[in-house]
Structure formats: C-alpha cells, structure tokens
C-alpha cells in the first residue's frame, strides 16, 4: 500500500488530486447554478424553497454533499500546501518581473483560490449554516408542506448592496480561477492532443465567463427587483 502513498505525495500525484477535485467542483457548479436559477422565477420563492428542502433532506444528496465538502477542503488545503512548497522551490524572486511568459490567472491560482474560499465561508455561513443549524429561517406552508423559507433569507441578503458586491467579487475570482483551471485540469491528467486541446481551451474560456456571470446575475437581478 506504500505505493499509493508514494503516488499521492509525488508531484504528479498531488496534481492529479487537484485536477480531479477541481473537475468535481466544476461539475458541482453546473448543478448548483441550475438549481439557483429557480430564484429568478416570479413565484414568491416556492419552486426554490421546495428545491432547497429536497436538497437538504434527500439521503442520496446528503451523501454526495459530504463528498463535496471533503472535495473542497482537500482541494483548498492541498492547493495551498502546493503553493507554499512551490514558493520554497522557486527561492529568490527576480528583480525584474515580466508578464511576457504567463497569464495573471495562471500565476495567481492560490490567491484566487483563497478569495474563493473566503467567499464560500461567507456564503455558507449566511445560508447553509442558518438553514441547517439555526431556527432563524422561518418555515412557510405550501399545501400543508412545512418548508423553511430560504428564499426570504436570500432576498434579504441580496437587498444589501454590500453582499451583492461580495458576490460579484467572489464570482470574478472564480472566473479567473477557471480561466486557467479548466484547461489546466485536463493537461494535468495528460489529456493533451493537437485536435482536442484547442477545443477544451475554448470551452474552458466560455465556461469560465458564462457560469460565474450567471451566478453573479442572480444577486444583481434580485437586488434590482427587490
């Protein structure tokens, strides 16, 4: 079994973990976005609240979400560990820094990731924590079904310009992280090909703009329509 440990601590093995967890988080983003777009229905939040209830009570989804929390933590802590190891390997920096050979996003993955982590903590503290561990979110009644009115909580949050700003900044950080990360994950796995790599890179750029923009649109529209 030593070989598994050796692999996971090798430079390439660590990167495989980063890549798999990164791709897993990307797949989560898609599901999360589709669910959240229900916030924009003009039904007073019924569809969204029922969806939120389903997501917090369904045993299968509860199991998957444990995988998700582990994935985020693994990705974040391993990412930061790699960052510090790499800083040490680089040693002294050059007196003249150049932007001629690398993109901002590629060089700042750890900074962008830390911003995303801060965003996730604020985001989960405001919704997930209150939903799961407090009685702050008051239930509503849909045809005899008692469901916590998360929609009301979301609306309150997004009526404050400060929070709308935080969400926009969080999504900008995510966009840059994915600008480099999406295609990088495939390269890490060794999936580089003359014909397919340009397609993956193109899709990555589209994804990294569209998905964070769609996420950011939710607080903006809810703020404007409050």
């Amino acid at each position: 079994m030593q070989w598994i440990l050796n692999f996971l601590t090798s430079s390439i093995g660590k990167k495989f973990v980063m890549s798999f967890t990164g791709l897993f988080l990307i797949s989560f983003l898609i599901i999360h976005l589709i669910g959240n777009l229900q916030l924009l229905y003009s039904d007073g939040g019924e569809a969204f609240n029922k969806y939120a209830y389903f997501m917090t009570s369904n045993p299968l989804i509860k199991t998957v979400s444990i995988g998700l929390y582990t994935g985020i933590l693994l990705h974040a802590f391993l990412g930061l560990a790699i960052y510090f190891k790499n800083k040490k390997s680089k040693g002294k920096k050059y007196a003249v820094s150049t932007s001629a050979n690398a993109s901002f996003a590629a060089k700042q993955m750890a900074l962008l990731g830390t911003l995303i982590l801060a965003f996730i903590l604020i985001h989960m503290g405001d919704f997930w924590f209150k939903m799961k561990f407090t009685d702050q979110i008051i239930p509503v009644d849909y045809d005899g079904m008692q469901v916590k009115d998360l929609y009301a909580q979301v609306s309150t949050t997004f009526s404050k310009p400060f929070f709308v700003g935080i969400y926009i900044l969080g999504m900008i950080a995510l966009a840059f992280h994915l600008w480099h990360g999406f295609q990088s994950a495939f390269q890490t796995l060794g999936l580089n090909h003359k014909k397919y790599t340009p397609i993956i890179q193109g899709l990555g750029k589209i994804f990294s703009i569209l998905v964070p923009a769609a996420f950011a649109l939710i607080p903006i529209l809810m703020y404007l329509n409050r």
Partner: protein
C-alpha cells in the same frame, strides 16, 4: 551603442549577493556574451573581479549560457539562447538587468553561474537506454512512424539549459524531464524501458526539490528550443501508467 548593465554579483553560495551597475560600449553586431566579454576585459584591466558567467559552444547547442535578461531567461528573443542573442535586440541607452537562474535546486556558485547538477542526477536516474540497440544500420532497419520520429526529434533538441526551471514561478523541472522522457520513450529502442524510466526520472526530479507544475506554461515560452508542454502531458500519462500498471 552605450549601455548600462545591472549585474547580480555574488562571491559564492554562502554570501549574499547584490546588483552592481556598469557602463559598457558595445556594437549592435556583438552577441550578448561578446558584450559581456568586452566588459570583463575592462574589469580585468582595472584589476577588478570579472563577472562569472557560463558559456561553451556559443552556437546554441550546449545549454550553458544561462542568464536571465530583463526578467526573461535567455532574453527577449523567442527560441534563442543567450549566446545567439545579439545586441541589435537592444537600443542605445538601454539599462539591462542580468540575473542568474533562480531556483532552490540550482544553487548559485558565483555571480551568474548556478549548479545544475540536479539535471545530471535526473538523467542518471533513467535518461538512457540500457538495452543493446545495435549499430547505426540496425537503427535504420527499424521502421519509425514519421509523426513519432518528428515528436521524438523535437524533444531531443532539449539542450538541458534549465531555462524552463528558471522561467517557472514554481521552480519546476517538468519540461526538461518530460523532454528527455519523450525523446527516448517515443522511439522503438527506448520504448522498452519507457514506463520504468518515467517513474524513476520523476521520482528523482521530486527528490531534487523542484516544484510542482501548475501548467503555467512559462517554460514553453522561454525554452530556447521551443519544447512543447505536450511532452509534460505525455509524461503525466506514462507516470500514472507506470505507477498503476506495474507490479511495484
């Protein structure tokens, strides 16, 4: 042309270095190293310590002329070693900053000269073919697909200079190691030991303290031989194949 140089001077690995400023008169037909030769002659005639920098072939094939010029390994010209860089790439009155390769695994010996023996140890760990490959005519008798021959040859042009490590913000040696792995592994004679070779070379690379690749791609941009990061993907594939597909 009149130039101002800011050059990193450092006595040895243990002392702290610092930049020193020099003025030099050069002609735009000189190579970058010839310009430094002119400056060194002046320093010697003034009984000062000449600037230590490495050089050998001066025709772009040995990989020793390693300088970071204005923040870029081998200077501003794409696909060019420092010895092949000419002063016509600069303007009269320019200030040029010259630094050594920076990486934990490449400690400074003196001034602009670094110790790249970590690369030698990576090669020693598997960068060779130990099966009998016969005489030259035997090589010609084995058919090699044109596409693979080109890829192997492209990888074989790596001169082991270390600009990839110098350019990498993570101090990673993936491009160098991947070039060697691809160069040997794509050809029939090298294929036999390919996965085993990949594994031991990557393990040695890690042991030397090089950083972990984040696919930044600066290596590929600065490599004087324009080695592609496609080779890194190939190495990642065969490393995983070696770990999961072998008995060890």
């Amino acid at each position: 042309m009149q130039l101002k140089l800011k050059v990193w001077r450092q006595k040895n690995a243990k002392t702290n270095g610092e930049f020193q400023t020099y003025s030099v008169t050069a002609s735009e037909h000189m190579s970058f190293l010839e310009m430094l030769d002119v400056l060194n002659e002046e320093l010697i005639s003034k009984k000062e310590d000449p600037i230590a920098f490495e050089h050998d072939c001066r025709e772009g094939i040995c990989g020793t002329c390693n300088l970071v010029i204005d923040g870029r390994p081998h200077g501003p010209m794409q696909g060019t070693t420092t010895c092949q860089l000419h002063m016509r790439s600069f303007k009269d009155g320019d200030t040029i900053v010259i630094e050594p390769w920076r990486a934990e695994a490449f400690p400074i010996i003196k001034d602009l000269v670094v110790d790249r023996s970590a690369f030698d140890r990576i090669i020693q760990s598997g960068g060779y073919i130990s099966v009998n490959t016969g005489q030259a005519m035997d090589g010609n008798a084995i058919p090699v697909e044109k596409d693979l021959a080109i890829k192997a040859f492209d990888a074989a042009t790596c001169i082991g200079c270390g600009a990839c490590v110098a350019a990498c913000p993570n101090g990673s040696a993936m491009l160098f190691t991947a070039a060697k792995v691809s160069h040997l592994g794509l050809l029939p004679q090298g294929k036999v030991e390919h996965t085993k070779r990949t594994r031991s070379m990557v393990d040695q690379m890690d042991k030397e303290g090089f950083g972990n690749c984040s696919n930044v791609g600066a290596c590929e941009v600065e490599c004087p031989k324009e080695i592609s990061i496609e080779n890194i993907a190939r190495m990642n594939r065969s490393y995983v194949a070696a770990v999961f597909g072998s008995d060890e």
